[in-house]
């Protein structure tokens, strides 16, 4: 049994244990969260033994899961009886994401994708109020529609090629059915990645979910989809790549303009920013074999900074930035710097890597669009910072709700970002090899 197999099995087993055993023993959220942690860690250990590029996928996914687990305790006021379910779904969703990332044929991809997507939908719903339910409902409806087209594409691929494996360039050239099919499959996975024109549901889901869970949903879906699409594109060659380049560029433009309009709503701005980053991943995926590796690296960098931002924001749905206390404010600031692509944060290294491959493989116009989308993003990411830092020395009248229970999660996420800032070569080694 391969290490990948064990990684998935341990996570599923952990989900079952949490659901059936732990929830009966204790409903204290911290106990539940910490009970889930060992499964994520062991799974990451197995991930380190897998060959590149899968190693980065599994380690990053387990890391995201671990941080999200550490952020669960603040969910309690919103969903008091469902903390154990949230933890179990986190583990199950990670298992599905790993399944999607390591998929070598279409059926594995679909099963992994659906496990991830359905877990994500329920996690989105586990926030307080109708807003989360509405977002989850829209997410599942749109997800089901894209799943239907993905399966249709799967059917076309099988009809044209006779096999469920990812079709090669030769097979695509031989049969228009396979071509249409693989495009549909690619678009179905692009829904998970949140590329235009399939980003609608993801936008609402990222906005309305509880902060820690939103971070998980964003990061895990991008990681898994990036690696899966990378394999598909590697097999299919340039025929699929061209499509992804232009979809990626349109997504960058859409997300950037959408984010600029969200001056008042930090959560919605972060959702549009997730769309923009998905555009970068899409652009990288289209940029040839080197680009597929870079897309995985970008997804891992994005996961670390998204989790950091949401660790800082964890708590009730809409948090007043003046009350989050010193350490969470610094973490949030670092996360925003990283999202904006300020060197030397991982966000910057990842963007630079994408620009290099895009220039070589995608041409000057996509590169220019990517550069513009990258640099003008500072206008909306850094906007809250003067107020945020000024509030570090809060007025005595403003009650500081620093939530020390979040500290392990914040510390872990900060560590991940700092390590990736100073030593980006580690992640690059995990995805590419020496």
């Amino acid at each position: 049994m391969t290490p990948t197999y064990w990684a998935v099995v341990i996570l599923v087993f952990g989900a079952v244990v949490l659901l059936l055993v732990v929830s009966l023993l204790s409903t204290h959220p911290r106990v539940v969260a910490y009970a889930g942690l060992p499964f994520a860690v062991i799974s990451a250990g197995f991930g380190l033994q897998t060959p590149q590029p899968l190693a980065l996928a599994i380690v990053a996914l387990c890391g995201v899961c671990a941080i999200a687990l550490l952020l669960i305790p603040v969910l309690e006021p919103a969903v008091p009886q469902h903390v154990a379910e949230a933890a179990a779904l986190l583990l199950l969703g990670t298992a599905g994401a790993i399944g999607l990332a390591q998929a070598t044929d279409l059926l594995q991809a679909v099963v992994g994708l659906e496990t991830l997507a359905l877990s994500a939908v329920i996690l989105v719903a586990l926030g307080a109020g109708d807003r989360s339910l509405e977002a989850a409902f829209k997410y599942i409806v749109l997800g089901a529609i894209s799943l239907a087209s993905l399966l249709y594409g799967l059917g076309l691929v099988y009809l044209g090629g006779g096999s469920l494996a990812f079709p090669t360039a030769a097979q695509i050239a031989a049969s228009p059915l396979v071509l249409a099919g693989i495009v549909l499959v690619g678009l179905g996975i692009a829904f998970e990645l949140a590329l235009v024109p399939l980003h609608w549901g993801a936008l609402d889901a990222y906005t309305a979910a509880a902060p820690g869970l939103a971070g998980f949903v964003m990061s895990a879906s991008k990681l898994a989809a990036a690696f899966a699409l990378g394999r598909i594109v590697l097999a299919a060659g340039a025929s699929l790549g061209q499509v992804l380049i232009w979809i990626g560029c349109i997504t960058i433009v859409w997300g950037t303009f959408g984010a600029i309009a969200q001056a008042r709503d930090l959560r919605r701005m972060l959702a549009y920013s997730a769309i923009t980053h998905a555009g970068f991943i899409g652009l990288a995926l289209g940029s040839g074999p080197a680009g597929a590796v870079t897309a995985g690296f970008y997804a891992a960098a994005y996961a670390s900074m998204a989790m950091l931002v949401f660790a800082g924001l964890a708590g009730p749905w809409s948090v007043d930035l003046r009350t989050i206390g010193r350490w969470r404010a610094l973490a949030l600031g670092l996360g925003l710097f990283s999202l904006a692509g300020i060197p030397p944060t991982p966000g910057f290294w990842a963007k630079l890597a994408v620009l290099v491959v895009a220039w070589q493989a995608a041409g000057w116009l996509p590169t220019l669009i990517a550069v513009a989308g990258g640099v003008f993003s500072v206008l909306y990411y850094l906007r809250p910072l003067p107020d945020l830092f000024a509030a570090l020395r809060a007025e005595p009248s403003v009650a500081v709700d620093s939530r020390p229970v979040l500290l392990p999660g914040v510390v872990l996420a900060t560590l991940a970002v700092v390590v990736m800032s100073i030593f980006p070569g580690i992640a690059w080694y995990l995805v590419r090899g020496a």
């Binding site: 529609i145 300020i342 890597a353 070569g425």
Partner: protein, 573 residues
């Protein structure tokens, strides 16, 4: 000392940490921990400059996904000179800020941001390749943003900060593109002029163009000038440190560092000179119509940077560098002197409000006078005379002498605008003496920190003539065999400047003269505002597409899928 200098960018980090953590406690002592950083930087840089040599730090394989992914830091006389400037002006500004920000509740945060800026600027100057340069380049942009929008309770500061970010973004984009497109193995800045590195797309011209755009954004040249006058929304000490002496000089520094590339790109060099001259003239004219004291001085900075760009553009980087060196001193002096008056007047910055109040601040008055004389280019006794003369001479003797003649003629505008400011604030009868409030505790550090800058404005010209050519690398000093101590063009420039100074001062001091009424706030210029409004309108349009109706989303998805399918299957066959 060069090996130590290569790590000089960390010198202010301990201060940053200590001040940020609250050591030492109390409002009066806040920031004391940061005071050590800049003097240490200054001393180390001075010794390194005197000793000479060069040292580079390389960690290969740091960024394996880049064509040149090493960490490269280069300490050589050029970077040592810039670090001397940085250390000196920073030391003065830190001491000054103890007084200026004495009663400000954000004093601690201010010093943290200052430390961050000095560290980033140090890294920028010490950068040996484009990747490390980008870290410093963006870092100074971010610190500049945080410092411009420092006072959150005053309206317009965030907008001014965002303007700076927007202009910086253009420059960062150009630099990012340059870092992505250089051929493999070509990131080292000093190697950018070699044939291997100019073999990429567009050759030397395109690469030089990208570097020029980046430099122009950082130094507020051409259409990217708009952010610098509005950066005056930040506290005066940082107007002096960042937006006069150091950060805006980073553009000039970059062009001097990569001058080998510029010699291979004559088209772009011509553009650099042309934009420099145009900016110098345009900004000088604009300064004459400003109603805000600091904005008037800021436009002067833009104009003087134009002079430096012209010097680099005509192929004499030493001239531009020399002027950078002296300008740091007298421009910082002008700003800090202005700040004393502004502080004493309770923070008001409009010329109408400050009329005549400068007479009550002796140090400030002398400082501003010395700074003005240096700005006009008074020969022999002020530093500005030597450096401005070097640029004008170099331009007149180059292949495009028109550049030199235009710059010479523009000196009359220089005299005009600075004479106007001096006359209104320091010579006119006071508008209301009772609005002045002296605070000896705050003023002492402010006044005494002006003294080194006054000395510098007088003396640095001689230093530049006699000492700099011997310590700077041959390649940069190059075409300038010896800089003349005084010649016809220098004398002519001074005469023109003096005419402008005295003429406008007389005009302004007439009893019935009406002062420029106008915009004293930091709102963006009309065309910038139009772009911003347009951008927000487009963003709102995108935002409104997300209508909330799931059927519309589904429709969008299905149409999108259909379009992609059609285009791919039909068009790309």
């Amino acid at each position: 000392m060069m090996p130590l200098l290569a790590w000089a960018w960390v010198f202010t980090l301990p201060g940053l940490l200590l001040t940020g953590l609250g050591v030492p406690t109390g409002q009066r002592r806040a920031g004391y921990a940061s005071l050590l950083g800049p003097p240490v930087l200054l001393v180390v840089a001075l010794i390194a400059l005197a000793q000479g040599g060069s040292y580079s730090v390389t960690f290969d394989g740091w960024l394996p996904f880049l064509p040149d992914g090493a960490y490269r830091a280069l300490a050589d006389p050029l970077s040592a000179l810039l670090l001397v400037i940085l250390g000196a002006v920073a030391t003065v500004v830190y001491v000054y800020s103890l007084g200026y920000m004495a009663d400000d509740p954000g004093k601690r945060r201010f010093f943290v941001y200052l430390d961050l800026f000095v560290a980033a600027m140090g890294l920028l100057v010490l950068a040996g390749n484009l990747a490390v340069l980008l870290i410093g380049w963006t870092g100074v942009g971010i610190s500049s943003f945080l410092l411009i929008s420092f006072w959150r309770d005053r309206p317009g500061t965030l907008g001014a900060g965002l303007q700076a970010l927007a202009a910086n973004a253009v420059g960062d984009g150009a630099l990012l593109l340059a870092a992505s497109i250089v051929p493999t193995g070509c990131g080292a800045l000093v190697n950018l002029g070699t044939s291997q590195c100019t073999a990429g797309f567009g050759g030397a011209e395109f690469l030089a163009l990208l570097l020029f755009v980046a430099a122009a954004a950082k130094s507020a040249q051409g259409p990217l000038y708009f952010w610098l006058p509005n950066a005056m929304a930040g506290p005066t000490p940082i107007s002096a440190l960042i937006h006069a002496a150091t950060m805006v000089a980073a553009g000039v520094y970059l062009l001097v560092r990569t001058h080998a590339l510029l010699t291979l790109a004559p088209q772009v060099s011509l553009w650099i000179a042309a934009i420099g001259v145009a900016t110098a003239i345009g900004a000088s004219v604009a300064s004459l119509f400003q109603a805000n004291f600091k904005k008037g001085i800021a436009y002067s900075t833009v104009a003087q940077l134009g002079y430096m760009f012209a010097g680099v553009g005509v192929g004499v980087p030493f001239a531009g560098l020399f002027h950078l060196f002296t300008h740091a001193s007298f421009k910082a002096l002008l700003f800090l002197a202005a700040g004393v008056v502004i502080h004493g007047a309770g923070g008001r910055e409009g010329l109408a409000d400050l009329r005549g109040l400068g007479r009550f601040f002796a140090f400030s008055r002398w400082g501003f006078l010395i700074g003005s004389l240096a700005l006009i280019g008074t020969p022999l006794i002020t530093a500005g005379g030597f450096s401005k003369d070097a640029i004008v001479d170099a331009a007149i003797n180059s292949s495009t002498p028109i550049v030199g003649w235009l710059l010479l003629a523009a000196v009359i505008l220089t005299g005009g605008y600075i004479g106007r400011l001096f006359a209104i604030v320091y010579m006119a009868p006071a508008v209301d003496p009772h609005t002045v409030h002296h605070d000896p505790g705050a003023e002492r550090p402010m006044n005494w920190s002006l003294v080194p800058l006054m000395v510098g404005s007088l003396v640095l010209g001689w230093v530049g003539i006699l000492w700099l050519p011997s310590v700077l690398p041959e390649a940069i000093v190059g075409p300038v065999a010896t800089v003349p101590i005084l010649n016809i063009t220098g004398a002519l420039a001074f005469v023109l400047g003096a005419i402008g100074f005295l003429g406008v001062a007389w005009y302004v001091l007439r009893p019935q003269a009406a002062l420029a009424r106008g915009e004293t706030s930091y709102r963006p210029d009309g065309w910038v505002r139009a772009i911003a409004v347009g951008g927000y309108a487009v963003s709102d349009a995108f935002s409104r597409v997300q209508s909330g109706l799931v059927a519309r989303y589904a429709f969008g998805s299905l149409i999108g899928v259909a379009v992609v399918l059609l285009v791919r299957v039909v068009a790309f066959r």
